[in-house]
Symmetry: C2
Subunit: 425 residues, 2 copies
């Protein structure tokens, strides 16, 4: 049987070589068709395949198909587990093949199931239980640590031994396209002695990659590193919006809180680990070697090219302000899952775990403005002659990413959001 | 009309003066009767009143009563909002009065609706969206800060200006009675130079009070301090189990993570703000005065007496190891809600917000072993001749609390849990 990632596969739904969504990808999302209710779909070319219709025609041979694909989130489907995910992927791949007639030659079915993406509303694909954000890019942690503690003490001693993380806010995770109000909060005045309340003067983006837990573990039962990927359904892009001035004032001793929880944006399409399998990559050498519960995997990360584009009101076409890659990230998804659960903590279907800011080794591969502008000291010069230390009202940030195959791309689409002026209160 | 908190109210269901659950209390919980499905109930004396049965008899005049009271959590009921909460409380108070015959004189209905608490299974009462833990006891923050930074720098500069908080883990919040495995994790060796993985040697309890969000706010729309309590459904006891050695090694710079998320226990009964109204208390003077968005309320806290009892295998009767009071806590529920949302962060029905460890000013009012044993340096002497710096396997911690009325108590019941040996992995 031909693999669902075989580069020779072709679909009757056209996809240009630069499309993010060829038949080798098949990412899952949740959408609302015009006048309809939310349901599960798969992106193919510039179309979304409506799985709820396929299920109602009994074309998807998984348990409870009619139920799980007519939900407003992927959770019910994800909870079925890896066997059902693989079965569904193989069925969909088959149905979309250029040499399979079932949908291709049934005009009515084709019109019912293949909707133009631009005509549907893409919704938050998962109902997020808990959201955990890691801090797993060594370049990012080193750059930020240098600003705070100087280059000699840039990394805290724990950093090379464990994937540092904190709990984020699940309620304010929003889907791409949701605009973000500039948050108010306490920050120090210029004199630095007393805080005042007002709009943040240092709103930033963070280019991150998130992964979604498909099946969880029981409280008290750790997930071993060898089993970790069995629990991972797929991957999204994440923009973890941050207010640096609020963060600086609030974060001691319990970590970031209001500086982060006003909004976190994710991309609408969840790219499965199956689709990413051909793009495994080794990741950085880990020295010192991690403790045994974090060791043992090779090819522990993925070669995913990542970019951020900034648009301003004077520059609607936008400018790429960074290009980096997931393979620079020090701690892998598997290591993050193994660490997260080593104490018995339970992950659940729909949990979101993110890498933290993905920065690469070079100045043009930094994943947030805090690093790009060196803490606000070196404004970023834009092609229009404008400069930026942090984001201004009206600025739009779009993150995108893809794996480069031979003649095709496995893309993540994008996650975008515009900073709106702080609301009057 | 007589108030539901009137001390003169009497129920036909007996409640001794020391009972936690007289007719003035009426806390909500979720329970499973023998052989039945989960449903909503109210504690009265040593009975639980089955609201799903009352709803099926159309005795509870709130919207969707049959639906909301046959759920496995309070969320659907809480989402109805304060008007429905008040209406339900008044109806239940009326039905339970000693001079009202509806249930009292209907033997069949009485047997169907009033079950002995010890014969039912008490379940986690809320489906928790996000769990936020504050750090709002000045005594606690000062004691802990003194250990880390010395008495001169005990409080960080931000502490008196804002209620410091971090996001906790929602998935591992468990109901009273759930035992807790000693967590494994990375902690430094005695030499202090490299971490190893193993069972925590410093498992602690934290005596906290939590409050439950009944109705949320829209993302981007802060809740003003004057409106904050409108969103609060009720109050529970919280034991935020902690592993101090894991915490010490992991917490910089993003705060506690695995040292906390292995378990957080809450009491099964949610005591409503209505029931607590007669026990308002002023709380500590706040100096410097808080910024306007955190100012303006008097009687901003509640006079709730709190205790922790430790039982060991050699001391099954237990020993009270601390007695404190919520009124010592510096930042109030309202201030916590106003701060949490000032940046636009959205709270949702079922969110749990907790005070952080509640410590009082005296040595016998400290809310965790870290403080009681002064970081492990001054072991606590027990009546059996045993000592404790931190918890040992088999130790059971029970938190309890109540408001003292004239001839009655508004009690919280208890939250209890036993530390089990670390699981073999």
């Amino acid at each position: 049987m031909i693999s669902t990632t075989d580069p020779r596969l072709r679909s009757f739904v056209p996809a240009e070589p630069e499309s993010h969504f060829p038949i080798q990808n098949l990412p899952y999302g949740v959408f609302r068709p015009p006048g309809g209710t939310p349901r599960v779909g798969v992106a193919i070319g510039d179309r979304v395949l409506d799985l709820s219709v396929l299920a109602s025609r009994h074309l998807l041979d998984v348990p409870e198909a009619e139920h799980v694909f007519s939900q407003g989130s992927l959770n019910a489907f994800m909870a079925l587990g890896r066997t059902a995910w693989g079965q569904t992927r193989r069925t969909i791949s088959h149905l979309l093949r250029s040499d399979v007639a079932t949908i291709r030659d049934d005009i009515e079915l084709r019109e019912q199931t293949l909707l133009p993406i631009e005509e549907v509303e893409l919704l938050l694909p998962i109902e997020i239980g808990d959201y955990t954000d890691f801090y797993s890019s060594r370049h990012h942690a080193t750059n930020v640590g240098s600003m705070i503690r100087g280059p000699e003490n840039a990394l805290n001693p724990n950093w090379v031994h464990l994937p540092v993380a904190y709990h984020g806010r699940a309620s304010s995770v929003v889907v791409s396209g949701t605009n973000v109000f500039r948050p108010r909060g306490q920050r120090l005045t210029a004199q630095g002695d007393a805080p005042s309340l007002g709009p943040s003067r240092a709103v930033d983006f963070e280019l991150e990659v998130g992964f979604v837990i498909g099946t969880g573990n029981t409280l008290g039962h750790p997930v071993s590193i060898d089993q970790a990927e069995e629990h991972v359904f797929g991957v999204v892009l994440v923009n973890d919006w941050s207010a640096r001035d609020i963060q600086k004032w609030e974060y001691q001793p319990l970590g970031p809180f209001l500086s982060k929880n006003f909004a976190t944006s994710i991309s609408p399409w969840v790219v499965t680990l199956e689709a990413l399998a051909p793009f495994r990559s080794e990741g950085p050498r880990q020295d010192p070697p991690p403790l045994p519960y974090l060791a043992g995997t090779t090819n522990r990360t993925f070669d995913i090219h990542l970019e951020a584009v900034l648009r301003t009101s004077r520059m609607p076409k936008g400018q790429r302000i960074t290009a980096t890659n997931l393979r620079h990230v020090y701690w892998s998804f598997s290591q993050q899952v193994a660490h997260h659960t080593v104490n018995g903590c339970n992950l659940r279907t729909g949990d979101l775990l993110a890498t933290g800011t993905v920065s690469g080794p070079s100045p043009d591969s930094l994943g947030c403005l805090l690093e790009i502008s060196q803490g606000g000291k070196q404004p970023l010069a834009l092609a229009t002659g404008e400069t930026r230390t942090f984001l201004e009202d009206g600025d739009q940030v779009t993150l995108t990413g893809w794996c480069r195959g031979d003649g095709y791309r496995i893309g993540f689409g994008e996650v975008t959001g515009t900073v709106l002026p702080a609301r009057e209160v």
